[in-house]
């Protein structure tokens, strides 16, 4: 009896509360969003702000303690040193090259998947693209090491067919190849999504107006797929910009990228302010990149 009464009373509270929430949508939204928002602000934005602030501190060269004195010294060092400028350019150049090649490779692939392949083939191709993402990043990079190494699979194969051996290991060519391989799925998927969304009627209209395949691809498909390509490029570009493990493993003496500078300054030198200043540069580059991507409508394609 008492239990039932309590239950009724309880459900009374609940129904009143839910009614109150129903009348006040803002309260509903607040309760729903506060935990994830707090998480986001505390863990993500706060960490970024701390990073931003640290970049303008220095370490005492004498004690290597952090000195909380505002200064642009770290950024000045980065921009006045030709070595650091070279590293920034090398990193951006690598990211751009990887993005370009991935886009060129991904487009026909995604095109085939979206418009030509039977649903069975398409499923198979999806699995083929996504399966490598299940494998460990390190295992993939190491397997490339085995392919590129002296007398490795590549040179062994070239030797077998009587061609000149290339010795790609520990060059930026090997870094470039591995990056292209690693990030390709991140380009194919958004391009596929964009191509799949193009209504067949538009292609038919293009054909009815006398455009041949090439013209249709160039004037109809490509512009409509562009947001997908840009969306994919956000992944390939930013992932290349921040990676330091691939250069560390398959790169040679010229494989110093922004990520490697950050890594050595934190891991070995304990110069966190300098590492933070260096980290601001990819952030700034990505901010510009994302703003341009938004202008190109990439966010609708993700």
């Amino acid at each position: 009896m008492t239990v039932a009464a309590a239950a009724t009373k309880n459900s009374g509270i609940w129904s009143r509360a839910s009614a109150a929430l129903w009348r006040r949508p803002w309260a509903r939204a607040t309760i729903l969003l506060t935990p994830p928002l707090a998480w986001f602000v505390l863990l993500y934005l706060a960490a970024l702000v701390v990073l931003l602030i640290t970049a303008f501190w220095q370490i005492n060269p004498f004690t290597t303690n952090i000195e909380r004195v505002w200064s642009l010294g770290n950024l000045t060092t980065i921009f006045t040193s030709s070595a650091y400028r070279g590293i920034i350019l090398r990193t951006v150049g690598m990211a751009a090259a990887v993005t370009l090649v991935d886009a060129v490779v991904a487009f026909p692939f995604a095109y085939y998947m979206a418009r030509i392949a039977s649903s069975r083939t398409r499923t198979f191709l999806f699995v083929a693209i996504l399966l490598p993402l299940w494998a460990s990043y390190l295992a993939k990079v190491y397997s490339w090491l085995l392919i590129f190494t002296h007398n490795g699979f590549l040179d062994w194969g070239l030797g077998k067919v009587g061609l000149h051996q290339v010795h790609l290991i520990y060059t930026n060519w090997s870094v470039f190849t591995v990056f292209c391989y690693l990030w390709l799925p991140f380009m194919i998927i958004p391009v596929y999504a964009a191509l799949e969304r193009i209504p067949p009627s538009q292609i038919e209209a293009s054909q009815d107006l006398g455009a041949r395949t090439w013209r249709t691809t160039r004037s109809v498909m490509l512009p409509l797929a562009l947001p997908g390509i840009v969306a994919g490029s956000i992944f390939t570009f930013s992932l290349t910009l921040g990676d330091y493990i691939t250069p560390l493993l398959v790169g040679g003496t010229s494989a110093n990228f922004m990520g490697n500078i950050i890594y050595t300054n934190i891991g070995i030198a304990n110069n966190v302010p300098f590492a933070a200043a260096m980290a601001l540069i990819p952030i700034a580059i990505m901010a510009v990149y994302l703003l341009s991507a938004r202008a190109l409508g990439a966010f609708e394609a993700i």
Binding site: N151, T264, I268
Partner: protein, 410 residues
């Protein structure tokens, strides 16, 4: 027996050189002569009149009943069940391990005397002085550790763990960074580091991807360019530093790969990506175990290296178990077990025979019976700081080593 989860292995670049990290308390204590690079005269005297805050704490006179627990901060691979389990059975002291990733982390964990939580830390030569000058280490009654008598003299009272005759722990093990070469490519074994600067081996040289490599260059110049006046490869004035960096910049075209992981160097030797280079005894023993024709030597110029100590925390909650651990870890058999499993040199000279029992030839391999001249040829790592040994602020601090490595060498 070859199962070293070596810390150098697991922590690519930072590894021991993490010593490069903040030398704050060391500097505060004004003890530029931190290292034991002059190991031939282990006097254990104080540096620059600084005192250790805990120097006058009373030491334990007699080991009592074990407390049942022992909390240790250690490098990975230093608390192997092979020797920890028998210790627990013998003493009833349960060992609780806290693995640290760098010298800096060890110093941080030992703050406030270990916080009443930790009993001991297996720190390296560079961190030791920071810990004891901060007042975080407790004096040790070395007479309670019988095997200490059997230590090589250089490790009985080394300047990095013994100040004014007061011990703050017991030395553990040490090791050099050696010259490695593929025997197939060297009919006569090289005897000088000059081979890693020789254009003849273009594209076949490998050295660690680590700024402390500048010290190796300085060590080479100490012999080959006496006009620079280098006396300590970790204390370089601006001209000495620049000369060392120049040497490394000239070496760069010869190098195909700066190695970051021990496994990477092993891979490169095996696959012919490198035929000569600088590495650790661990790589050598691994390659030998795989029947690879690897040769190794400490060249005539000497080599860089490291030395570790089990330091007692100022607020150790389980001092009796800590002393039992020091007794145990110093015995020849346990010293041999750690040396063979980890790939380093024991401090106990009686460990040699046990090492050969565990793995034939390992005593020679890890130089456990080598003469003092061998020890003297190894310049143990320490943190480069701005204050030179003579007290002048003319030396190049470690942060500059890192930026030079990244911008001028690589």
């Amino acid at each position: 027996m070859m199962t070293p989860p070596s810390r150098r292995f697991s922590r690519p670049l930072t590894v021991r050189l993490a010593l490069g990290l903040a030398a704050a308390s060391l500097v505060a204590a004004g003890c530029g002569s931190s290292g034991s690079s002059s190991g031939s005269t282990p006097t254990g005297t104080s540096t620059s009149g600084q005192t250790v805050p805990t120097a006058n704490l009373p030491v334990l006179q007699k080991i009592g009943k074990g407390e049942g627990q022992l909390n240790l901060i250690a490098w990975e691979g230093y608390l192997n069940p092979i020797w920890v389990k028998p210790f627990q059975q013998q003493t009833g002291c349960q060992v609780n391990a806290k693995y640290a990733g760098s010298s800096d982390e060890m110093v941080a964990l030992m703050k406030n005397g270990g916080g009443g939580q930790y009993d001991m830390v297996s720190s390296s030569g560079d961190a030791d002085l920071r810990i004891l000058y901060a007042g975080d280490a407790h004096p040790v009654n070395i007479n309670l550790i019988p095997s200490w008598k059997d230590f090589f003299p250089a490790f009985q009272s080394p300047p990095f763990n013994t100040i004014n005759g007061v011990h703050y722990g017991v030395s553990l093990q040490w090791g050099p960074n050696v010259l490695m070469y593929n025997k197939k490519d060297f009919s006569t074994p090289p005897s000088s580091w000059s081979v890693i600067y020789d254009p003849k081996y273009k594209g076949q040289v490998t050295v660690p991807d680590n700024p402390i490599q500048i010290a190796d260059a300085a060590l080479y110049l100490q012999t080959h360019k006496p006009s620079l006046g280098i006396t300590d490869p970790y204390e370089l004035t601006q001209p000495q530093f620049q000369a060392s960096v120049q040497l490394l910049a000239g070496q760069r075209p010869l190098i195909e790969k700066y190695w970051g992981l021990a496994s990477q160097e092993i891979f490169d030797f095996k696959n012919g990506n490198a035929v000569v280079g600088a590495g650790w005894p661990y790589q050598v023993s691994t390659l030998k175990a795989d029947k690879f024709p690897i040769g190794t030597t400490i060249p005539s110029e000497g080599a860089t290296g490291w030395a570790d100590t089990w330091m007692l925390a100022a607020k150790a909650p389980h001092p009796n178990c800590a002393y039992m651990w020091m007794q145990y870890i110093s015995t020849p058999k346990v010293q041999a077990e750690q040396a063979v499993n980890y790939g380093e040199t024991p401090d106990n000279k009686l460990a040699c025979a046990y090492m050969n029992k565990l793995q034939a030839g390992s005593c020679d391999e890890y130089h456990a019976n080598a003469p003092l001249s061998y020890f003297n040829s190894v310049k143990l790592w320490k943190t480069p700081i701005a204050t030179c040994d003579n007290g002048k602020p003319d030396c190049v601090p470690y942060a500059d080593w890192v930026s030079a490595w990244n911008t001028q060498v690589k």
